[in-house]
Each structure stands twice: as C-alpha cells, then as structure tokens.
Symmetry: C2
Subunit: 278 residues, 2 copies
C-alpha cells in the first residue's frame, strides 16, 4: 500500500495514485531541486484541493503536507489562489488526457471507456472542485474559468474527432456541448447523493449521447446518412445495443406501441384514460 | 413607441417592455416615494445589467439612466454588487414566473410554450447575465449562486409537477436536472452564435426532454408504466408527434433499420462498409 506515516495527510495521499504519493511527501526531508519542489507543492495542493473546498485549505496545510515551511511555499507561489489555479490547471490536463481513446471499435464502447475514466476522475478530484464547477466558489476567477472552458473544449473536440465527420454542423457541435453539460451536472449531482451505482451512470450517459446524436440526425440529413454505419458498427452487448433492446422492451409496455404508432401515422391517439394499466 | 429623449439610455429603454420604460426614467423628474424610487433603481439596473456585463455598468450609468444622483443611488444600495444581485434576483423571479403553465393539454406542448417564454427571456436578459451563467463573471458571489440555484430548482419542480407522478425517482429528478443544464448551455451558446432560428431551438429542447424521459422510462418500470398515457395524450402535430415522425423517417434512411433491427435482436450487425450509401 502506501507510506506508513500516521498523519491525516498521508492517509489522504495513500488514496491517490503512485506518482501522487511520491510527490506528496512520503519522504518530506529529501533535498528537492527547484523544479522538483515546485512540482511537489502543486501535487500536494492538488491532492488537498481535490478533497476539500479551497476555503478549507490553508497555505499552512499545504506547507505541512509538503514537509515545507510557509515562507518556502510563498517563495514559489504568490498565494493560495495562484496555487489553487495551478492545481486546477494540472487537474484539467489530467482530465483532458483521460479523454484520449484509440480510434477503434464501436463508438459507444469507446465513449463508455472514456466515461469510466472521467467518472473515476470525478470521484477522486470532484469533491474539492465541485463548488467551482457548480458556480459560486470563492475561488472562481477568470483563470479558473479559462481552465474549465479548455477542458470542455477538449472533450468536445475529442468526441467530434471520433465521430469522424467531414464537417460537423453547428447543430451537432451544440448537441455535443449540451451533452458535456449533461455529463458534468449529472456527475456533480451524483457526487452529492451517490444514489445510483457509478457503472449505471457511466452506461446512461453514453446512451444519452447516442440518443442525442440520433435526434440530431433526425433533423440533419447529412448526419442521418452517416448514422447507418454508426449503428452497423455497434454490438448488441454494447451501450447502443442495450439501449435499442431497452427501447424495444418499452414498446411491449401496454399502451406505448399503440400511442407511438398513432403519432407516427399522424393520426390522433386514443384517449389516455386506462391506456397505461400494466 | 418610447420617450423621445435622445440619450443612449433612452434608446436602450425603448427596446424594453412598457413597465420597464415607465420605471426607466421617461419622466425622470417626477417626485418618487421611497419604495417607488427603490423599485425604479432596480428596474433601471436590471435593464442595464441585462444588456452589458457588470464590469461595463457603473453606478454613474445607473444614476444617469434613473435621472438620479450618484449619492441618491448609494443612499438606497451600498454599491454596485448589491444592485447587481438585486437585479439578478428580480430577473430570477421574472424567469421563474415564466415557468408557470396551466396543467392542461399534451405535456410536450405545455413545455413548448414554457420554452418559448424562457427563450424570449434569454434574448432580452441573457446578454448581460451570460458571463455569470457560464461561470467566471467578476460579479459571481454566493448571492448570485443562490439566485441561479433557486431558478434551476423552480424549473425542476415545475417540470416534476407537470409530470404528476406519485413519487418521482432519483433517476428522473437527475434526468430533469440534466435537461435543465442542457437548456441553459444550449441557449447560452445560441446567444453567442444565433446559428439556428430560435423556434428550432425551442422545438429541439422539448424533443430532447421527451427523449430523455423515454430513456429514463426504459430503465425504470414504474415510469415506463406511465409512459403510455403520456404518449396517448400527445398529438401528431405537437413536438412529440413530430419527433416520432422524424425518428420513423430516420428508419427509412439506408442501413439504419437493418442495423437497429440486428441490435434489437441481439445479433451482430452487418459490416459497416457501404451500409450508409444514400
């Protein structure tokens, strides 16, 4: 496992990845170079700011966790806000790196893997940055906004790259951007309540993307022409296959098939009363 | 039309509704009561803050637009931030009032009317508050966050009230919350680019809600049992009817029906190459 140092900070550090552990001061007294020390302070700050809102993290906490003195921290960073923004920038880079996925296999399975890594990130770094993403954090600034926007843009570009369309329409770009907002809000709300298993969220978000893509295609003939090969690449056991099966199952629920058929035919449906007894 | 006073402020005021015009100082020299003056200052501030980001509106601008002196404004409000938060609060109340809709007729048509009023609000007040909603506004504070959260909560409660389910699940609440985020992001992005007609956005957002509701029902049997009566109440010419017709049209695009049928049957689809020629 991790270092046995019995401090609360080491406990927190033990829950992070190996590179974080090394940087987070398991051997605080080793002489560090200027670059190493700077990186270590950022890693320690990222660890603390990931777990707690910025107002609950002091420069003293960071110095203690880094095995450094308060003046030494100030030697590297003008203040807490600068360290906060730098840790957010690192978190943003780490998150953006998780979006990268080989251009192979069914699209919904690629997105499913990306969402697994994204939700893992949300679990490990989300609690501290949640207030910032929700808006109204005391630490919000033009700097933090720029970082968040950059991550959203990276996510959008990755998805569009995987869709591999010659020229994505404004409507499709908007669909992707709105789905990213959906993923953000859904995972932030999940952090607060954890009311469903994380794997369910992972599947649902991917399926909502497939649904949004299909809806966009329903109004954009150029995208509709690509949709056949998208569906043909999917597998029955993947997120899209399971979505199609779930929707087919829905049509077996009393009342739904009749009502949907009537709507498709352009004829008024039956009166609602009693249609949903089942 | 409006007052003929040839000032830029009056020009801006001329583009607002009649009650705003009256408050915005068409007759600046009439003696106002304490309450009237306070209301007038808020109305003028709301007008200015709706058009421009807060950093581009000064207390002098507000005083001039209200036909008041700078000290008089300070007599009522401690500073620009307080006036900004008060105007945002009024904007929030106005927006929440627009969510109210009689509990009559097909659900998607009710939501369509609400979205018409919402998008109208976005057009008239959005430009100034966009930075705040996107995050990173210099005027963001715990106060502005509370107002925005309250509006989101009001929207969520209204939608759940219209769905009229005995006890909405955590999953459904999350679906509604995520769709509200979708509507926010989509309309904010639209403000920047205005790349599609506003009526299209109004229709698409409602249809995306219907799709999200359907997806949630596909994994929640209790909601699925209600979905038949929801669809049976809808009309072919309404947003849901048009969505069903568009999706039916999509199945006529070469390759899509075969691929979807294969996924539904749980059998692997045909190879993608050539499946989307059309």
């Amino acid at each position: 496992m991790a270092s046995r140092t019995p401090s609360p900070t080491a406990d927190r550090a033990a829950r992070t990845s190996a590179p974080d552990r090394a940087a987070a001061g398991a051997r605080p007294r080793r002489r560090l170079s200027v670059d190493e020390r700077r990186e270590q302070l950022i890693a320690v700050a990222l660890e603390l700011f990931s777990r707690r809102p910025p107002e609950e993290v002091s420069i003293d906490d960071i110095a203690a966790a880094a095995g450094a003195s308060r003046p030494l921290v100030y030697h590297y960073f003008p203040g807490k806000q600068a360290l906060y923004e730098e840790s957010l920038r690192r978190a943003g880079q780490e998150l953006s790196a998780r979006f990268e996925e080989p251009m192979e296999g069914p699209l919904s399975e690629r997105l499913y893997r990306v969402m697994g890594r994204y939700l893992d990130f949300v679990q490990s770094h989300g609690p501290g940055f949640a207030a910032l993403l929700r808006g109204g954090s005391v630490a919000a600034s033009a700097g933090t906004s720029a970082v968040i926007d950059e991550v959203r843009r990276a996510a959008q570009e990755q998805i569009l790259a995987h869709l591999a369309l010659p020229s994505p329409s404004a409507g499709l770009r908007l669909t992707v951007r709105a789905w990213i907002a959906n993923a953000e809000i859904t995972s932030l709300e999940w952090l607060g309540e954890r009311s469903v298993p994380l794997e369910d969220l992972q599947l649902h978000l991917v399926q909502e993307f497939v649904a949004s893509l299909t809806l966009t295609a329903a109004r954009e003939p150029a995208l509709a022409a690509e949709l056949g090969s998208f569906f043909a690449d999917e597998r029955p056991e993947g997120p899209t296959g399971r979505l199609v099966q779930d929707l087919a199952g829905l049509l077996a629920v009393p009342g739904i098939l009749d009502a949907v058929t009537a709507l498709a035919a352009g004829t008024p449906g039956e009166p609602a009363a009693g249609a949903a007894t089942g």
